[in-house]
């Protein structure tokens, strides 16, 4: 086999694999479980998405809204962006409640909005510490005018 043919074959196999990869990517993207669209409580109130669509909902955990089921297996709370609130229910069989989940703190949940208006979350993210807020949440709060600003630094930096 000549060098030219060999290279042609390698390129053909490479293109074939890329095509296969593109097909796999498109297939994966068309499946509703792979993608989640970010939304705020206000977005959900204004334009309720279809119950099949996966949503990543961000905001603050409303103070006084957290209720734990007596069997310890589910967690109910409300997420607010200052303008609208969405009731959320989380089944802890999906994973433990993060240590940083707290009232008044930023949170991101993933799941689907059910027809009754309750958001059923299967993922609960609160990976940040006090000084860090998920950019999506910060942006959502800025949009609704509830942004408190960055936390002040420990002291003034000397120039």
């Amino acid at each position: 086999m000549k060098r030219k043919h060999r290279r042609l074959l390698a390129v053909a196999i490479g293109l074939g694999l890329l095509g296969l990869a593109a097909a796999l990517v498109l297939n994966a993207l068309s499946n509703s479980g792979a993608l989640a669209f970010f939304a705020t409580p206000t977005d959900l109130a204004e334009k309720p998405p279809s119950p099949e669509r996966r949503i990543r909902l961000g905001g603050l955990v409303e103070t006084g809204s957290v209720k734990r089921a007596s069997d310890g297996k589910s967690l109910d709370f409300r997420i607010t962006d200052g303008k609208s609130t969405v009731p959320v229910t989380y089944d802890i069989a999906n994973g433990p409640v993060p240590d940083l989940f707290r009232e008044g703190q930023g949170v991101v949940v993933e799941g689907k909005l059910q027809s009754g208006g309750v958001f059923r979350a299967d993922t609960l993210l609160a990976k940040h510490d006090e000084r860090y807020m998920p950019p999506e949440v910060a942006e959502a709060l800025k949009r609704t005018g509830h942004w408190q600003g960055e936390h002040p630094p420990a002291g003034q930096a000397k120039p």
Binding site: M1, L35, I92, P135, A157
Partner: protein, 659 residues
């Protein structure tokens, strides 16, 4: 004072890096030995200066000098000493200093061990290393200065994020950076070769050990990170396809391809331009990884800070560091001469297939990781790509690669015989079949995919051993002859077998995770919970005092058939400085399975939410990675004399007239 010394050392290192990036390059172009020799001295001095700066920063952390902004923001006087030291790189500024420290370490190593290199190649490699060093030193000095003073100094620091107060922080980032930055050597060699317009077998013999060393470190780094995420609650388990995990995985995938293609350059003098491209891409992906993690564009525990100036700086750096070599590549690559000819079915062909599958798989990971960023930048809305995407794209591409692992080494160079290779693997195929039937007999049909995964692992494992048996002619020749052959096999052969066995072990560990069992209950002291033949009895929950936290500690007695297996003590810790609760999981591992206990919240009435997992074969995921890295090290120990012989042949070549 010491901090100012460190700051000054960094600035001096930047000056040296600038000299190192310009002088040797001009020297190599003009054939000026004095200018070329400058590269070595500046590289070693640069390392010494950055090491001094790092030591100054570490000193500030250890002595809790809160007049330094980074120390005040990230440390606390009550923090245990180990975490004061690891805290140096537990934040943005310090981790960048560690990055540059390792970069200059590699630069100094090239200068130190590379004295036998042709002087012009060595000068050009060091010059490229100098450019990378200069860029990152400027980045630190202008956007992330770790030596910024505070006035007045606060009485105490704000403390470190408690989840980072873990042995994982001590070992995971240094190994990861050794891997990331180690690929800069292969990158520098690739760019030097493009400038020279020449690649020969000696070039590959130099690039391979450096790539191998970086690859081993990256493998260990990723495995440690995965293990850390596994025992830390809320990080999504051992692998979540988190963008930051992907950021380290992409250079690994392409680096693995580079490792294999460099073999072809070395042994067969083919695939040169492709190998150069891979070397550039591997380091480019390391830089992209640094960008993803450090710019704060990602929602992640790794994103220490969001600062637009840093993001813009890294973007420009990225554009230059990736764009310039690629342009150089486009100009120079067509001029390279192709090497040995081979048939499609051959060792070379198998390695090309390996490369194509790995790079295409890396590209799907790249797409999934960066598409949301791209879409957001284009105003297309915010969305996130979850782990199902990666499972549906990456895994199907890995299956043919894993299936081909035993076949490749059995094919001959230039022209291989697929049929005979298959025949020699009949034992391995039998082993896979037996594994599949044995598992299927006890497993439910719902676990068909996991069963197939275990069969695949058996195929890779048995196939890798079959290749070794073939080489030593096991059972075909008398035993002493076989043993003699086994002794004579080069270490690189053992390295390959070990690494491929490691892949088998990891695949088995991943497949077996389908059989994980889990129970969540509210338990009161004295109650027991049964899972997978074990029984866990909660003896008591008591308050304990740690060095900088208070905790509720539960004591569980885990028994099997009445015999004590382990006493386990998971905790819920409350760090006093940050008022932040963290969960400390308790894990009992017997290397065949893990028993994983989590103490959840109390209900205030004496009951505690308890999670118990029994995870079969989970430790194999990381054991396999360690075997891969060990295989790399074994192979590396073989390289030493090969490098020596390469030098000899090069000297002989230099002695001969012409080039």
């Amino acid at each position: 004072m010491i901090a100012e010394l460190g700051h000054f050392a960094l600035a001096l290192a930047l000056m040296l890096a600038l000299v190192q990036s310009v002088a040797p390059l001009i020297g190599a172009q003009r054939g000026h030995p004095g200018l070329m020799a400058l590269g070595g001295g500046t590289a070693i001095a640069q390392f010494a200066l950055v090491a001094l700066a790092f030591a100054a920063l570490a000193h500030a952390y250890v002595t809790s000098d809160f007049s330094l902004a980074t120390v005040a923001e990230n440390s606390h006087s009550t923090k245990p000493l180990l975490y004061k030291i690891t805290g140096v790189w537990g934040n943005h500024e310090g981790s960048m200093v560690l990055w540059v420290l390792i970069l200059t370490l590699f630069g100094a190593a090239v200068a130190w061990f590379g004295t036998a290199l042709p002087p012009d190649l060595r000068a050009r490699v060091l010059s490229v290393q100098g450019m990378i060093g200069a860029a990152f030193l400027a980045f630190i000095l202008f956007t992330s200065n770790p030596f910024l003073r505070l006035s007045p100094a606060p009485p105490d620091g704000q403390g470190m994020n408690p989840v980072l107060q873990d042995i994982g922080l001590a070992i995971h980032p240094p190994f990861l950076y050794l891997g990331y930055v180690g690929f800069s050597v292969a990158f520098a060699f690739a760019v030097a070769a493009l400038i020279e317009g020449r690649v020969d077998a000696a070039w590959a013999r130099w690039v391979r050990p450096w790539t191998l060393a970086a690859w081993c470190a990256l493998t260990v780094g990723i495995a440690l990170g995965s293990w850390w995420a596994y025992y830390t609650l809320g990080w999504g388990g051992w692998w979540y396809w988190d963008p930051v995990e992907n950021a380290s995985f992409m250079p690994w995938l392409v680096g693995t391809a580079l490792l294999h293609s460099a073999v072809v350059v070395e042994k067969r003098d083919a695939l040169k331009t492709w190998t150069i491209l891979l070397a550039i891409l591997t380091f480019a992906l390391s830089l992209v990884g640094t960008f993803l993690v450090r710019s704060g564009v990602l929602i992640s525990v790794h994103a220490f800070a969001v600062d637009p100036a840093r993001g813009a700086f890294i973007l420009v750096l990225l554009a230059v560091a990736i764009g310039a070599p690629l342009i150089l590549y486009a100009i120079r690559a067509p001029g390279f001469q192709g090497g040995g000819i081979f048939a499609p079915i051959s060792r070379e062909g198998a390695l090309i297939l390996n490369n194509l599958l790995l790079t295409v798989a890396a590209s799907t990971v790249f797409f999934g990781t960066l598409w949301p960023l791209f879409l957001d930048a284009m105003g297309g809305g915010k969305l996130s790509v979850g782990f199902p995407f990666f499972n549906w794209t990456f895994v199907p591409l890995m299956v043919p690669l894993l299936l081909a692992i035993p076949l490749g080494p059995l094919l001959g160079w230039k022209r291989g015989d697929l049929l005979s290779a298959m025949q020699r693997l009949s034992v391995a195929a039998g082993a896979a079949l037996v594994a599949a039937i044995a598992v299927a007999a006890v497993a439910s049909p719902a676990h068909a995919l996991a069963t197939a995964g275990l069969a695949l692992a058996a195929w890779i494992g048995a196939g890798s051993l079959a290749e070794w048996a073939e080489r030593v002619q096991l059972l075909r020749l008398p035993l002493p002859t076989t043993l003699a052959r086994a002794r004579q096999l080069p270490r690189s052969a053992y390295g390959m077998t070990l690494a491929h066995l490691g892949v088998a072990v990891t695949v088995a560990g991943i497949a077996a995770s389908a059989w994980e069992q889990e129970r969540i209950e509210i338990m009161h002291p004295g109650e027991s919970l049964a899972i997978a033949g074990y029984e866990a009895r909660l003896d008591k929950v008591e308050p304990v005092e740690g060095p900088n936290y208070t905790a509720d500690r539960a004591t569980f007695r885990v028994t099997r058939d009445g015999a004590l297996v382990a006493t386990m003590r998971p905790e819920r810790r409350l760090f006093t400085v940050q008022r932040m609760p963290t969960t400390f999981t308790a894990i009992h591992s017997d290397l065949l399975s893990d028993f994983y206990l989590v103490l959840g919240e109390g209900d205030g009435k004496g009951g505690w939410t308890v999670r118990i997992y029994q995870k079969p074969l989970v430790p194999w995921i990381w054991l396999g990675c360690m075997a891969m890295a060990l295989g790399g090290l074994v192979s590396l120990s073989d390289r030493r004399w090969r490098v020596g012989s390469a030098v000899r042949s090069r000297r002989a070549a230099a002695a001969a007239p012409g080039d």
